[in-house]
């Protein structure tokens, strides 16, 4: 299971949790499982989020590998300027 | 739109007198063409005065005064070897207008006739006591520069009247003038406040003075109380303070995006003091 940190605005959608655990070996699987296991997050994830894996911000790539020990944060969807 | 290139002022006047729609004279065009392109004023008749003989001349008169042609551009005034020595304030006022490109085209008469209360070329002309020659259907007459503007965008010129020359009096001994303006940037801006000072000294004492404020009222304003604050003094602190106070008292500015009433009033006093110091140093030959 990968620990996914949520920004505080998302916490009310998952009963106040700061961190949720989901299965997944890639960013894409994590996102899919987040929606499946925590349906409250669906509107946020549908709207678009970024994810960070071990410090690297991943705006889009679903294929990026994730390990159970990876540091993973959900971030607000980022835009380029 | 009709474009005319009359060979004389009489002809220019005749065309203007017989025109029925909107008429503009074309000197440097830095107001006229900008207004045309931005759809503000589209003249029916555009009368170019640049083809009239003599309009590009800067001529010293017998009495020591100057006659400046109506198409002389700012850069030509700045580069003139003697004009700026006599009237540094007039030349620096004109030189503040626009940029290098604008300086190659813009004229003092255009600046005057555009009628802006913030025109940078005009206060120093008024302070110098300059006049213009006006050619019209009834012949030519001389009018003080101070009397030309009558309100924002308005002049006292009648239909068919065109300015045919700008006359600046002889400098005389122990005189000095200066013009300062306030803008938030260093160039390409409209004066928030402008101030010209022209004075004469006898030793350390000021004997004659004129102080003219721009952009603080519907027209450029010569302020007698400011002059009175200077005359008879050696420009000591008390005189400067009295000048500052008189300048503020003369302000009737508007509150707009370019400056508040309070700010314009404050800065009018500041510029009056600063311009007076420069003019005084020039009159005493301590500064060019």
């Amino acid at each position: 299971m990968v620990q996914v940190h949520l920004w505080s605005g998302l916490r009310p959608l998952v009963d106040g949790r700061e961190v949720v655990e989901v299965e997944g070996e890639t960013v894409g699987q994590l996102l899919d499982n987040l929606v499946k296991d925590y349906p409250g997050l669906k509107p946020a994830i549908d709207k678009g989020v970024s994810i960070s894996v071990d410090g690297q911000i991943i705006p889009k790539s679903r294929g990026v590998k994730v390990k159970d020990s990876s540091e993973v944060f959900l971030l607000q969807r980022l835009y380029a300027g | 739109m009709q474009y005319h290139t009359p060979p004389s002022f009489e002809e220019a006047s005749r065309i203007a007198a017989s025109a029925s729609g909107t008429t503009r004279f074309l000197a440097g065009g830095t107001d006229v063409l900008v207004q045309l392109r931005s759809d503000l004023v589209t003249p029916d008749d555009l009368i170019d005065v640049k083809h009239i003989p003599g309009v590009k001349e800067i001529a010293r008169q017998e009495d020591g005064g100057w006659r400046i042609g109506v198409a002389v551009a700012g850069a030509e005034m700045t580069e003139h070897p003697d004009l700026g020595r006599d009237w540094p304030g007039i030349v620096e006022g004109m030189d503040l207008i626009g940029s290098t490109q604008i300086q190659g085209r813009a004229t003092l008469v255009g600046n005057l006739c555009n009628g802006s209360p913030a025109a940078d070329g005009v206060p120093a002309l008024v302070a110098a006591g300059a006049s213009v020659t006006v050619t019209g259907p009834n012949g030519a007459r001389d009018v003080a520069v101070a009397d030309i503007p009558t309100g924002p965008g308005k002049t006292c010129l009648e239909k068919g009247e065109v300015i045919s020359a700008l006359n600046i009096p002889a400098r005389g001994e122990n005189g000095g003038d200066a013009y300062l303006r306030f803008i938030p940037r260093t160039e390409m801006d409209i004066a928030v406040v402008g101030c010209a000072v022209n004075l004469r000294v006898d030793g350390d004492t000021i004997t004659e003075a004129r102080v003219v404020l721009g952009a603080v009222a519907p027209t450029i304003r010569a302020v007698q109380a400011c002059a009175d604050a200077l005359i008879g003094t050696t420009l000591d602190d008390a005189a400067l303070e009295a000048l500052d106070k008189a300048a503020r008292a003369a302000c009737e500015p508007i509150d707009d995006k370019r400056g508040t009433v309070e700010f314009r009033t404050d800065v009018a006093g500041v510029l009056a003091r600063r311009a007076a110091k420069i003019a005084y140093a020039r009159a005493k030959g301590e500064q060019s």
Partner: protein, 746 residues
Amino acid sequence: MALDGPKQDFKYIGTRPERPDGWDKVTGKARFGADFSMPGMLHGAILRSPHAHAKIIKIDATKALALKGVKAVVTRADFPEGLEGEDWNIQENVMAGEKALYDGHAVAAVAATSQLIARDALKLIEVEYEVLPHVTDVDKAMAEDAPVIREGAADYSVPEGMHPNVVRYMESGRGDLEKGFAEADLVIEESFTTEAAHQGYIEPHACVANLGADGKGDLWCCTQGHWFVRQMCTAVLGLEATQLRVTPSEIGGGFGGKTTVFIDPVALALSRKAGRPVKLVMSRSEVLRATGPTASASMDIKMGMTKEGKITAASGTFRMQGGAFPGAPVDVTTMLAFANYDIEHVHHVGYDVMTNRPKQAAYRAPGAPMGAFATESVLDELCRGLGLDPIETRLKNAVKEGTPATFGPKFPPVGLIETLEEARAHPNYSVKLGPNQGRGVASGYWMNWGGETSASVAIGDDGSVQVSIGTVDIGGSRASMALMAAEAFGIPYENVRVSIADTGSLGINEPTHGSRATFASGLAIIEASREATRKLCQRAADKWGIDADAVTWEDGCAKPSGPNAGEFDPLTIAEIAAEMGSTGGPISGHHESTPDGFGGSFGTHVVDVEVDPETGRTTILRYLVVQDAGKAIHPAYVEGQFQGGAVQGIGWTLNEEYIYGEDGRLQNPIFLDYRVPVASDLPMIDTVIVEVPNPGHPYGVRGVGETGITPPLPAIANAVRDAIGVRMKKLPLTPPRVLAAIKARD
């Protein structure tokens, strides 16, 4: 993506050759948006709302259509219905539907045989409006009695009970604020505002559109990203993506404002209706009234510090308006507000608010400068209150590799500490200041971007190299691309030519935005070049009759990789190219990806100002930019980016602002009154390039375009504070405001 780690020894990278587009640009040969024309072309003009907020009751174009030379009039009725989300927002913004939402909002457009006729025709279009109450200020737009811009625009994030103008809400943070503030020796709480600033690019938007009734079309336009233009135009007009080919012109600045569309779909709609090509060129006042400036902001910041200078806690509330649509960059503002520092207890709240203003567009580091203004101002006050040096204090709190960012994850290698150390060591930091002078310091961050990227290289028959990229050249990037290709091939810079391909010639490329072009297109070129050199090696191997693995590419030649490979004279790229038709065909390389390894860039600015105590006018005396470039491919253009960011920041801080009247109309839609700095306002901007290589790029590149506008707002405000002894909390620092503050002080 597996990379070998940034390369360090370079032959071409780091040199300063002339930019390939330079001559054409200074001699007037380069073709910008408005320089394009076509046979039979019509000229378009757009009618714009004079009201800040009004219901459109009726549009009658009968008289305009009767004018000789008028070929078409379009209104919203000429655009498809049923769009959603951002596609609908863009459509609504380029042509008003039921309501005009801001002063300058397009309501109709004309195509005619001349520009003059088109403009005359606008005056003949009769529009009946019902004027509605309006609001242009962010705080007023959130108030209970504010007029509603549009019901139902809010997304899932907005808590119940908020005004319908609040369309997004964010909250993030960690730790225990109360505990953090309790640990502080000094806590400061202040509120700040910034006004909207426009990107101020010199070139107004311009395009020529040619769209047939069959739905096939061409568009030539000035843009930062032609695939974005294609996506937006085809969505707004209901066309098939690849049936519209978009070709970018040279571009006279964009700064984020040309990553979206304003006139292009309108020109296409006019062209489709008239059956002829249509050119549309905006005037400056149209640019200021109806394209996107950045958001304006209203912010409350609270920070605590120990007497040793350690930040114990920080919190911020950021209210931002981005015009009549969702999209103010409050997510980035909140995320980056405190990102320079290692703070255990931190909390951010953000509101995206709609007002009757034009739809905001990205502007260089969108959202970051406003937040930095507020937070770095408070940090400066803390340093003052505790008698601490601003650089030492920043060093004490600065993030480095492994520090958990205030927005969550741990930082990869970053260069904030290096920029602070360089700034401290720079002579500018020890110049003695005179009366009425002050010094300010601030740091800032931008996380940069990768984005979809596709690039190709092709070998010419003389061994020169043609590079095709999809990111337009705004700041000299052709030169950087050519340098990277030259390095990868080991051939002279002059032997590389870089072209910007149209949407028909490459895969999708995101715009030149997010400081990504040199990073992402550069990475693609290096990879594409490596693919091409592998093919070149293969041709040499075939010729020598040895295995391709036994051939290496070095200095523009194929060589046997070692003594065991055999004795062969090196084959130059020109020799291999001369024979390529008969040895297997043309040689090219291609690469496409959405690279993620973009590394963020930190910068530190030090500025000295002098304030005229009698007029409140601020003069910039000295300005130093120190920033991390990872690896400066072309140092001169990196310095240019640093300087440009500083200059735009100076404008935003001192004089640039959107001024709305009581009537909700923009008061200053010309450069005379929208005051960007002119050359004579500025000192030479000093620069120091710091290079902390980015592990995510083969040469270590980090984007440098955006970070540079983040520190100037607070750096200058801090310098003015130092000079006048009063903290200015409202931007811009216009002379009337500064003078009023000085008078209130005395």
